[in-house]
Amino acid sequence: MSKSTTRLWAQILKELLCVLRDPKTRIALIGPPLLQLLIFSFANTLEVKHVDIAVFNRDTGRASYELLARVGAASFCDRLVTVHSRAEIAGMIERRDVIAGLDIPETFTSDVKAGHLARAQVLLDGRRGNASQVLLGYLSEIAGQTGADLTGASAVADTVALRHWFNPNLIYQWFVVPSIGGILVMFSTLMTVGLSIARERELGTFDQLLVSPCTPLEIIVSKMAPALIICSVLGSVMVAAGIFGFGIPFTGSFALLLCSLFVFVLSMVGIGLMISAVCSTQQQAILGIFSFGVPVVVMSGFATPVENMPIVLQWMAKAIPLKYYLVILQGSFLKALPPSEVFANVWPMAVIGVVTISFATWFVKGRLE
């Protein structure tokens, strides 16, 4: 017993040294993920800011003046560009000089005065569909408010009392920082563990490992150890960066989140080992990781809610550890996720981890016999 424990320790130590010995590898392991967290957290926003809008105004009355003054003063608008025909708007949108154009007819003010619905056209660049849609929302709100003020009627928005729970001002960073942290931990884990067995096989040292007295389980455990340790630490640093660096409120249980992080990394280690075990070169392993990782990010519910996907993809999403971890992450930060909900999301990851690690062990054993 003690003999195999010493052997295991020696193996784990060797694997850790293998990963951490080379300064370039050390930096490549820790540096880019943290840098990326910083850059992408600031970059990923679905708000619209700093846009230019072309204006073709044929109306000379107060209503259009009021509307344009408010649009021009809005924080999202950098510049209003006055033009003299619709064709000019078309040209500017085509060249991406502006994202949208307002076309206000002659009868605009008189319509408002007469109590009709005054209509102005907004021409938007459908190539930048997301931004256009958001911008339209902003503009409609301003238009509705302007109309209400000019006619003295109550604005439509008053009929609904709106509250956003957990994130009252819908700050996008509160959503994006924890989620990106999870995605980066996933890729780091896959890369660290995925290359381990594949590299040994490529360099031919895997056979040496097989003829050593180590059992398959020992080989697997020692291969898992570096990724498990490094990436759990990385994940904790990401969470800490969210709390202290970005000032995101953390309402849940930190201990529970750490446990979930560990199980998440474990399940990703399992998947990485499985990929690594079936590949015979590092290139294959990396391409395998990409072919797995990229669709997984898309299907994890990060970009769009899982329940909005076709039913087949929803089934497949159930096998994605990242999906569960994102729920726990977002919940622990903002929702004070109760333990029962945490466990409901932890056990699927644990199952995935056990299955994939068993497969990898079985595979190594198969090579041995």
Partner: protein, 373 residues
């Protein structure tokens, strides 16, 4: 010059690399299977046009007006409604993430309507942890209420209305602007990641020394490596484009010529970046890690593909000028949806070529140095 450049030698190198490339099943996976999977996923999974968002409707009244409003929510194609009588029933579901929001129709709805005051008629609560979905729920719940008011003849109010028209994409189908963006990501993966790996492998295994000791020049070695992957990336682009057009109905309003020209221009910086990474890293793990973080993720997140560049903070906006995918996404969306707008293509193409030239020059000087030592 003949020492630097020999067509026969070059052709032999390209042939050798192509065979090596096509022999490895993982290359085929990367170049043909993954793009198809990605295109399908972007067409189906990353639809930003939400519908059937699960919400709860808490009906506290039995009045006809309240029933009609609840029915209006159930009938909306944007929502899947879980009915409830008490808000406590749905609050837990929001915390568990099973519902994205709920609407409370109060017990005194009729009185509030009759009073006609400024008191709100209904309450809408959303799950703010996913801000996109939250604003979607808020906007569409508002619409349902407004329409219900209009159908009852309640004053919606005169005022100002904006009539939107989305050019190039009248229905605002998200796949129409996402699929062209997806092509840029796929080409980054093939161009940068695959190239970085392949050249780094030669260094790691020590076979680069063997190649260097042959009479071929550095330029020939590099071009010999790059040309097969250029071909592979173009093939993948063609497949993605055909799929987008014929399976998913994305229009190609510009010309194939422009599309190929832009794709070729983009491959210069993409391949150059892969080359540069491999000559710095000389180890497959580090090369892959660098390609992931400097090539793939920026192409995904900093290219304007999903997130609008103009909304980013200034330092990051400046950083995006160094991301070749930024120029490619812009031009691809234009060539697919708008047409051949050369005043957009030419400056962007020049920018891509300039970045690519810088990458390749640095990579070449790095490779040369290690030859000398």
């Amino acid at each position: 010059m003949s020492r630097q450049w020999n067509l026969r030698r070059m052709a032999a190198l390209v042939r050798k690399e192509s065979i090596q490339m096509l022999r490895d099943p993982s290359t085929i996976l990367m170049a043909f299977v993954l793009p198809v999977v990605m295109v399908f996923l972007y067409a189906y999974a990353v639809s930003l046009d939400l519908n059937k968002v699960p919400i709860g409707v808490v009906l506290e009244t039995d009045g006809a007006g309240g029933q009609a409003l609840a029915a209006a929510f159930s009938g909306s194609r944007y929502f899947t409604v879980t009915p409830a009588r008490d808000r406590r029933e749905v609050e837990e579901a929001i915390i568990g993430g099973r519902l994205r929001g709920f609407v409370v129709i109060p017990h005194d709805l009729e009185q509030r309507i009759q009073a006609g005051g400024t008191e709100p008629l209904v309450q809408v609560v959303t799950d703010g942890t996913q801000p996109n979905t939250a604003s979607f729920v808020a906007n569409y719940a508002q619409n349902v209420v407004t329409q219900w008011q209009a159908s009852r003849g309640l004053a919606v109010g005169a005022g100002i209305a904006l009539e939107p028209r989305f050019w190039y994409n009248a229905e605002l189908e998200s796949r129409r602007f996402l699929l062209p963006g997806a092509i840029a990501i796929i080409m980054t993966m093939i161009g940068t990641l695959l190239t970085a790996m392949v050249v780094a492998r030669e260094w790691e295994r020590g076979t680069m020394e063997a190649v260097i000791s042959t009479p071929v020049s550095v330029l020939e070695i590099l071009l010999g490596k790059l040309l097969p992957y250029f071909g592979l990336a173009m093939a993948a682009t063609t497949i993605c484009t055909l799929l987008s057009i014929f399976v998913f109905g994305v229009p190609l309003r510009g010309s194939w010529l422009a599309l190929f020209m832009l794709s070729s221009a983009f491959l210069v910086p993409a391949l150059g970046q892969g080359l540069l990474i491999s000559s710095v890293a000389k180890n497959q793990f580090i090369a892959a890690q660098l390609a992931l973080f400097s090539g793939f993720l920026p192409a995904f997140l900093l290219s304007g593909f999903i997130f609008e560049i103009s909304s980013m903070p200034l330092p990051i906006r400046l950083l995006t000028y160094l991301v070749p995918a930024r120029y490619f996404v812009t031009t691809l969306q234009t060539v697919f949806l708008a047409g051949d707008v050369w005043r957009v293509f030419i400056p962007n193409t020049l920018a891509m070529l300039a970045i690519g030239t810088v990458f390749i020059l640095i990579a070449r000087s790095k490779t040369k140095k290690s030859l000398d030592t």
